[in-house]
């Protein structure tokens, strides 16, 4: 691999990360993971509902994937830290996506609490992947706090609106040394490619795949778009111009 993604010293085989929520079945989720060739997949931790016994989701995730628990449901740093510790103690490994969301309407993260949780968990040896609003000063704080990446939202979770935070994400890519993973809002392959063209290190999607008519094909399409966008970024794709520029010689025909 001539362009490996390295996070916390580990080579990540694919720049497309897949969330496992909202799939119609765990079998379908598994097929989508395989089709996307995702190396990192996220899961959540919840109270068991005794009335709806469910299979163990971890059994459906291919063994060569990194399972990254998220701290969804946390409303502050303390809750995120508690969830992270339980997830690790339960055998979920060191990877943790910090998600601290006090707002139910837009599901926007709380950067200050996320930074606080990052400080605590990084010291405890977690590989901390914080989900945040794209803000340069906060991204620097996360870097200092020991985050392994910064995961800015493209648009609010589940909205499929694409890279609405484009200009701010571009600044993070330019100024922050950590891998920038665009998380949330990615609704279609063109969005994923756009994020990667901006220089994002990776893209995480879930709703776009799980709620698609054909999740397996969508997973494949998003993953391919991420790869294409990455190659385009490395190739230095051209910028838009205001005036036309002929592709054919400008001399008139037969003159």
């Amino acid at each position: 691999m001539d362009d490996p993604l390295i996070i916390a010293g580990q080579i990540i085989r694919n720049r497309f990360f897949l969330g496992t929520g909202k799939f119609a079945s765990y079998e379908l989720m598994r097929e989508a993971i395989i089709a996307s060739r995702a190396h990192i997949v996220t899961v959540a931790l919840r109270r068991v509902d005794a009335h709806f016994p469910q299979d163990n989701i971890l059994e459906y995730i291919p063994k060569d994937c990194i399972v990254m628990a998220n701290t969804s449901g946390a409303r502050n740093a303390d809750e995120a830290v508690r969830i992270a510790r339980i997830a690790r103690a339960a055998g979920c490994g060191e990877w943790i996506k910090i998600e601290v969301i006090p707002d139910n309407k837009y599901l926007l993260p709380d950067n200050a609490e996320t930074i606080r949780a990052t400080e605590v968990l990084a010291k405890e040896g977690f590989i901390v992947m914080p989900y945040v609003n794209p803000d340069l000063a906060d991204a620097r704080r996360l870097t200092d706090a020991g985050a392994a990446s910064v995961m800015p939202l493209g648009a609010p979770i589940g909205t499929n609106k694409g890279v609405c935070m484009r200009e701010l994400i571009k600044i993070l890519v330019q100024e922050i040394k950590l891998p920038i993973v665009v998380d949330a809002g990615i609704g279609r392959p063109s969005h994923a490619a756009e994020a990667m063209e901006l220089g994002a290190a990776a893209v995480l999607a879930n709703t776009a795949v799980a709620t698609a008519e054909d999740p397996v094909l969508t997973a494949q399409a998003l993953s391919m778009a991420v790869e294409a966008g990455r190659i385009a970024y490395r190739a230095g794709v051209v910028m838009p111009k205001d005036k036309a520029e002929a592709s054919s010689p400008l001399t008139g025909f037969l003159r």
Partner: protein, 66 residues
């Protein structure tokens, strides 16, 4: 006083172990994660841990999430 299980207050203490409780509630043990009084309770301790007054249990499992 009783015990609290997944946020639900019971006014009595069921005379059973955590393992019995998991079985009684028909929860698949292999997918359950138990937090017992604020700390994770390893699976091999479920049998020996008998519920007592003022215990707080969270029975959790990994689910799909983004």
């Amino acid at each position: 006083m009783g015990v609290r299980i997944n946020g639900e207050e019971l006014t009595f203490v069921p005379m059973m172990s955590v393992a019995d409780l998991i079985a009684q509630r028909k929860i698949r043990p292999e997918s359950a994660v138990v937090e017992y009084n604020g700390a994770l309770l390893a699976r091999d301790k479920w049998e020996a841990t008998v519920l007592k007054e003022n215990d707080a249990l969270e029975i959790l499992s990994f689910v799909g999430g983004g």
